[in-house]
């Protein structure tokens, strides 16, 4: 299966990050690896864009950050959802599901 260029799907990266952080606080590297592993490397995510999205969502108040210690005892910046972020995740999930269902429905009729 060919890799999908995520740039095509606006806002999807935000949704993926929110979903990832829904399991608890993570640093940027962990978010990147988790997405890569979960999608079996089928989504091509430029990590620079991922960090930009993290910082942008922090500015919007969806995420909060805090410096903490990583698994190997290094200083790392941990992100976690705020209540506004959780609300965003719910809303975006609903939209995305509807969207995907609609597109899929169109593709089915042939």
């Amino acid at each position: 299966m060919a890799a999908v260029d995520l740039d095509l799907l606006q806002g999807t990266l935000d949704l993926l990050i929110l979903k990832t952080l829904n399991w608890g606080p993570r640093h940027g590297y962990a978010v990147a690896s988790w997405i890569r592993e979960t999608t079996d490397q089928r989504l091509q995510i430029e990590e620079g864009a991922l960090y930009t999205a993290l910082h942008r969502m922090e500015k919007r108040g969806w995420l909060e950050s805090e410096w903490g210690l990583s698994e190997n005892n290094r200083r790392a910046k941990y992100y976690q959802l705020t209540s506004a972020g959780r609300k965003q995740l719910r809303a975006k999930t609903a939209v995305w599901t509807d969207y995907a269902a609609a597109v899929f429905k169109v593709l089915q009729t042939s």
Binding site: G28, E46, T52, H55, E66, S70, K77
Partner: protein, 904 residues
């Protein structure tokens, strides 16, 4: 994540610009290290792992910058939010604090309100006199009032008034201006029949409209072709307010006729609301100069071609790019050419090289220029006075806040001990005083609204309500500025005091201790207050004495119960014989009215009009070198009517008629000037030309003040029947209340007026009032502000002494227990009050003595170091100090030693 406001800041390191970038770098570094480690652990060599990590990331440099930008803007917003939250919290806290102590809040707000109100009121007046350009004026920086200088008898004299011929010369001979217009305003009878009223009307040329950015509300303005001598078009532009009140704002007012002065004018337009040209008093209408001047002058000497009638001021606008200096030079050259033309027409004029004529463009506002009124000078002084009142108010508020801060020492120490930062604490105290200042500012605006109306009505003789203090942006801005300044000034003193506080000693100490070193600051505030009060009260004393002197000065006539009756001819043309007969008839009718003691015909009115003729005396080359001699032409009853005393010789009688030998009465100083060592009685003066027959001096009268209250004039009197001037009116002395008599007189005499002509009756006191006004304003305002300052100082002293007495209850208890009498305790406390006030009074007296020479020119026959004023002010202050410390002193004397020693 839990949000601990204090804690968050410790963990956040990226608060500044460099911090933000460092944090981004740290984060990305961590990411690369982790990626590398993972890739290498799967067997990739370091080189390839680095390449793969970079490929996965994308453009590192660009991302780095983008992240830093996002973070910076996020931090900025967070910081602003935090600040606003803190501010809102402080505000809530401050409001709660004030509501718990309403008496304190009211005292502070009222004190500040009085201070700010006094200043905003004075600002509103001075702003109008000195700063605010006329409404709608285009390019106020290029607009100018023209001033002309000539040297007379070795002294350079500045004049702004000029005549039409001069204006035409200047307009033609200058190139620096793109607009030039005469402008003046006059009280003129407007309307007809019973509704006729004297109102202020403005006169100008078509260029007037060019100098202002205005369009007519309806109709049009007059044009240059309607303003041409000898007879301009009889058209009028109404003011907006007049149009509204007289015509109900109806459009059909256009084209209708209105009586203004001696003629009927066609209404052609309405000026926009607020337009008042260059005038300060509200005008009702605007008329072309040439239309209004048509009746002036004489056929031999028409108004538009003579140089020696001056009745208006000239305004001009410099062309863009022409400097004031260049325009003045241009104007000067034109004035000099014009002066030479004048010399050709009138060779008796002062020669060119003696008069040294020159001219310059001055500020549009009269009071900014060389001919400033004394009102403006006094008003400028009052600004200083108001500022002093504000300083005293601030000192008082600072004192109240200090006392409050001392009471709150423990609370504040507890908060510091709990870790609230001192900066935060300062912010909070500042918020409280700014809130107080804001409320004080509102109170001040209310006082300004009220005080401004009173000032304008009672003191400046202006009946218009003026702009509301709440909507005038300039007054509003000024009041806001004062409020912030006052808030910071009063808030910072106790705040810094608090910030310096030693936490542990404050926590340990009771309410009693620790006031000793701090009271030094409060003492110096009190000394300053006392000193400023002395300065203001000395000012009040000096102005009140000036006012008394002005009112008691011998004018050379008795202005009480004296009325001036002026007939205004309208429509009918009367020759001099008819006018003379009419005036004689009016005089006889007036004399017959019950309650009228005397009535006399006269030509001129003190302070309103003067008349001069060239005089010739044998043995004296040039009379004009001796000074100005003004004349009054009057009927025989004049001296008894005016109350002017004839000191030697005799007054006129009915026998000094038209065909009798010519006689005159001269003033004392005139007699002394012309014949320093001889008796003037029986001497001969020739009037108007040295070929005229002798006019014999038959009496010497006391000197009169008729141009200025400060000095007497050289004045002489001619029998009106021999002099036969055009115009003039009657002086009438009544026995009763002049206001009632005035109306009765007007109604009686109106019956004698032909056609639509009418008479006006003006009490002499009204004519003199503007002359006295500056001293009256000075006396009233200094007295009001001085009393205010005294009350504030007394309250300040009282509160400090009372506070100290409370602090020393324990000590007083010990004293009483050890046998001190109530008298001793009272003396102790009062002495403490005096120890503060006496240095303040001494300081204030020194300042008053030093400032004296600046105020001297505004006083009237009072030395600025007048001992009675100084002594009585000093005694007043000391008496007030004793009174202010008396109440706390008696309270201290009643201390029950048992209770005092047991407490705390």
């Amino acid at each position: 994540m839990t949000r601990l406001p204090g804690l968050k800041r410790i963990l956040r390191i990226e608060r500044d610009r460099a911090g933000v970038e460092r944090a981004v770098d740290d984060e990305l570094q961590f990411h690369f290290d982790m990626t590398m480690r993972e890739l290498m652990s799967s067997g990739l060599p370091a080189e390839e792992a680095r390449a793969e990590a970079t490929r996965r990331f994308g453009d590192v440099q660009r991302t780095r910058e983008r992240l830093a930008t996002i973070d910076r803007s996020r931090l900025g917003r967070e910081r602003r939010n935090e600040w606003w939250n803190a501010f809102a919290q402080d505000l809530r806290y401050a409001i709660r604090g004030l509501r718990l102590k309403p008496s304190f809040a009211i005292a502070v707000i009222l004190t500040l309100g009085l201070g700010i109100g006094a200043n905003a009121t004075m600002f509103g007046i001075v702003d109008r006199l000195l700063f605010r350009p006329p409404t709608f004026l285009t390019a106020p920086d290029r607009a100018a009032r023209l001033y002309f200088l000539r040297t007379f008898r070795g002294k350079e004299d500045v004049q702004s008034y000029t005549g039409y011929r001069r204006y035409l010369d200047l307009k033609e001979m200058t190139t620096s201006f793109d607009a030039m217009t005469p402008f003046y305003s006059n009280d003129v009878a407007v309307g007809s029949g019973e509704t006729t009223k004297e109102m202020k009307v403005g006169f100008g040329a078509a260029d007037l409209w060019k100098m202002f950015a205005v369009r007519p509300v309806i109709g049009r303005f007059f044009t240059a072709s309607e303003d041409v001598p000898p007879n301009g078009a009889r058209v009028v532009v109404l003011s907006y307010a007049f149009w509204q009140t007289q015509f109900g704002g109806r459009k059909d007012a256009l084209g209708s006729l209105i009586d203004i002065g001696p003629a009927k004018y066609t209404i052609i337009g309405v000026a926009p609301e607020g337009f008042n040209a260059f005038a300060t008093d509200p005008l009702v209408a605007f008329i072309p100069t040439s239309a209004a001047s048509a009746t002036m002058g004489s056929p031999r000497n028409p108004w538009y071609s003579t140089y020696n009638m001056t009745w208006f001021e000239t305004f001009a606008r410099r062309k863009p790019g022409v400097t004031a200096a260049a325009a003045s030079a241009d104007l000067s050259a034109a004035f000099q050419r014009s002066y030479k033309k004048e010399l050709e027409a009138n060779p008796r004029q002062t020669p060119f090289n003696i008069a040294k004529p020159r001219a310059f463009v001055g500020p549009v506002l009269r009071d900014r220029g060389p001919k400033e009124g004394s009102d403006a000078k006094v008003a400028t002084w009052l600004v200083g006075v108001a500022a002093i009142v504000l300083l005293i108010a601030c000192a008082n508020v600072a004192n109240l806040l200090l006392a409050r801060a001392l009471r709150r020492r423990r609370e504040i120490a507890v908060r510091i001990a709990l870790g609230v930062s001192r900066g935060r604490l300062l912010m909070q105290l500042a918020t409280e005083s700014l809130l107080l200042a804001f409320l004080g500012g509102l109170a001040g605006l209310a006082i300004t609204q009220w005080g401004g109306t009173i000032m304008r009505k009672a003191l400046l003789d202006q009946t218009d309500a003026g702009p509301s203090a709440f909507t005038d942006p300039r007054v509003l801005g000024f009041a806001a500025l004062l409020a912030v300044a006052a808030g910071l000034l009063t808030g910072l003193v106790p705040a810094f005091q608090t910030a310096r506080e030693d936490v542990s000693s404050a926590l340990k100490a009771g309410a009693r201790e620790g006031h000793v070193h701090r009271s030094r600051l409060r003492t110096s505030l009190l000394i300053g207050q006392a000193a400023l009060s002395v300065v203001l009260l000395v000012g009040a004393g000096l102005f009140i004495r000036s006012l008394v002197n002005v009112q008691n000065v011998r004018m050379g006539y008795d202005a009480e119960r004296l009325l001036w009756v002026q007939p205004h001819m309208r429509g009918t043309k009367t020759d001099s014989i008819q006018s003379m007969q009419m005036l004689n008839g009016m005089r006889e009718r007036a004399q017959a009215i019950p309650g009228v003691e005397h009535a006399a015909r006269a030509l001129t009115v003190p302070f309103w009009s003067t008349w001069e003729y060239s005089l010739y005396v044998a043995g004296i080359d040039s009379m004009s070198k001796l000074g100005d001699f003004t004349l009054q032409a009057a009927s025989p009853e004049f001296f008894s009517t005016m109350g002017t005393r004839v000191l030697r010789g005799r007054a006129f009688t009915a026998a000094d008629g038209e065909h009798a030998p010519r006689v005159m009465v001269i003033g004392q100083s005139m007699a002394k000037k012309i014949w320093p060592s001889e008796d003037a009685l029986g001497k001969c003066i020739r009037i108007n030309a040295d070929t005229m027959p002798c006019t014999t001096v038959i009496g010497i009268a006391e000197d009169v003040r008729r141009g200025s209250l400060a000095e007497t004039e050289m004045h002489y009197y001619l029998p009106i029947s021999q002099f036969q001037p055009q115009g003039g009116g009657l002086f009438v002395r009544t026995s009763g209340e002049p206001a009632n008599q005035a109306d009765r007189l007007r109604r009686e005499l109106q019956k004698l007026m032909p056609g639509v002509s009418y008479v006006t009756v003006t009490p002499m006191s009204t004519i003199i009032a503007p002359e006295i006004r500056s001293w009256k304003i000075g006396a009233i305002m200094f007295a009001v502000f001085g009393a205010l300052a005294l009350v504030l100082a007394a309250v300040g002293l009282y509160s400090v002494i009372a506070y100290n007495v409370t602090q020393r209850t324990h000590e007083m208890g010990v004293r009483v227990a050890l046998g001190a009498q109530a008298r001793d305790v009272v003396r102790l406390v009062v002495r403490e009050g005096l120890r503060v006030v006496i240095p303040g009074v001494a300081l204030g007296a020194i300042i008053a003595l030093l400032a004296g020479r600046w105020v001297a020119p505004l006083l009237f026959q009072v030395s600025p170091t007048d001992p009675p004023v100084l002594v009585s002010v000093v005694l007043t202050l000391i008496a007030v100090a004793i009174a202010a410390s008396w109440i706390p002193a008696t309270r201290a004397a009643r201390v029950d030693p048992n209770e005092a020693l047991r407490a705390d």
